[in-house]
Subunit: 266 residues, 2 copies
């Protein structure tokens, strides 16, 4: 998610009129740095968010302790949030340096909405699911909202990126309507991001890829037992591989049967 | 979903230089008509698609026969598809009349992808779920893909609309960066569409709002019995209201318990 937008930014940049040497070494350099920061960080943010979303859905992580996976999930989201804040500061700095008004576009409105929702999601997630104080009933009632909000924020971020691409292409390419190679390149990048988002959503919504809850139940209770808690890295659970694989296959079979029973009414 | 975009289009139009009377009565009129067609129809399309998505999720429709609901679902999607095709023809006509190249923007690429996926979804949906030839096992295995694709196409259409708004605002408003009332209006419309999409996705993904499968099972089998099939309108099933409501409450309780059991491992 990082390299292509950087290439795209560099590519579209080439066609613009080059500034004089003097300007290059003062204001323009600052502006370019800010713009580069913004693009790189905001794309790293969506990549980090996507990884955080699917981290529970990778079958080879099922043998790791739930607590470890929760720390990885929270850590990735925290990194993505920090990058989002830094990129917001960069884009405001860039606008101020160029005397461009802030928050005038739909891109900025939807984007800021996504960042606000993301920060709320992060704070609530920490308070309810990571700290050991929330009762199980509260976690149970908030978990569907947490999952739904995470996916909603993810698709909103992708929509924001699409609007950003559209703005950038219209601002930077004077001959965009003639489909120059830069335009084709960024459009292709947009399609690839759409496919990427579709794959993440598919992985995040398949019931058979849901992490099995049975194995580490003691560990996950607030202030739970310490015996199972020792399994905080994946290496200690290698022996459980076969059991997990057979369990996953059994769950898949059961889901298939359930689904058939349910869908026989279609 | 229809009125606000029309207002927005009219509002942004006002600030443009008015053409002479002669031009008004030939080419400009054609162009405006094509543009109006495109906007109205493409917004009707997303509205129709949303209604089709949630039609099974409205509890008061659970007392109607499944076959009737399937016809309504398919009918709404067919209308939306027809509107999408007409709006595509209108926008190509508009581009050709103004000598604007077709298919140069990310908006058009993502939009055409959505329309192609939508038509595939419609054809497959008809063949597998409406016609009585597909075996139950095929329906069961394709249903999760059908639901996922429908929601994916829906969010893709919304992202396409956002890009369309961005393009329109940048093309039509020369002072867009100064946040004119038209810009604020369309940005607000974008936020409302985001909320609308979020609500539709929420309704479409809550398990407790899923249509109960038990009542009309005989009807739904391919070439099934005729006794239950007689219940093809809602009025004949009024008596089942209390049963359905109590069943929905029971399902909600069961889901809550399941969820608690599952999430106790968090």
């Amino acid at each position: 998610m990082l390299l292509p937008p950087m290439l795209a930014a560099g590519w579209t940049q080439r066609r613009r009129t080059r500034p004089s040497a003097r300007r290059y070494f003062d204001a323009v350099w600052e502006r370019r740095r800010a713009r580069c920061f913004y693009k790189v960080l905001s794309n790293r943010e969506s990549g980090g968010e996507a990884t955080a979303i699917i981290v529970y859905r990778l079958p080879w992580t099922w043998k790791c302790s739930k607590l470890l996976m929760k720390f990885i999930h929270a850590g990735l989201n925290t990194i993505a949030m920090i990058l989002a804040i830094v990129s917001l500061v960069a884009v405001f700095d860039f606008h101020n340096a160029k005397n461009i008004p802030n928050m005038y576009s739909l891109h900025s409105w939807i984007g800021l909405t996504a960042v606000i929702l993301y920060s709320l999601q992060l704070v609530l997630g920490f308070a309810v699911f990571l700290l050991p104080f929330a009762p199980v009933s509260l976690r149970a009632s908030l978990m569907p909202i947490h999952i739904y909000s995470g996916l909603l924020i993810f698709v909103t971020v992708i929509a924001t990126a699409f609007m950003g691409f559209t703005e950038k292409l219209l601002f930077a390419l004077k001959n965009y309507k003639a489909s120059p190679p830069e335009g084709i390149f960024v459009n292709t990048l947009g399609l690839l991001i759409l496919i990427f988002g579709a794959l993440v959503l598919w992985m995040a919504t398949r019931p058979q890829w849901k992490r099995p809850p049975e194995q580490n139940s003691k560990l996950q209770q607030p202030n739970g037992g310490t015996e199972d808690s020792a399994m905080t890295d994946c290496s200690k659970a290698e022996k459980a591989d076969v059991e997990f694989n057979s369990e996953a296959a059994a769950r898949k079979r059961n889901l298939k049967l359930d689904e058939t029973g349910q869908r026989s009414t279609m």
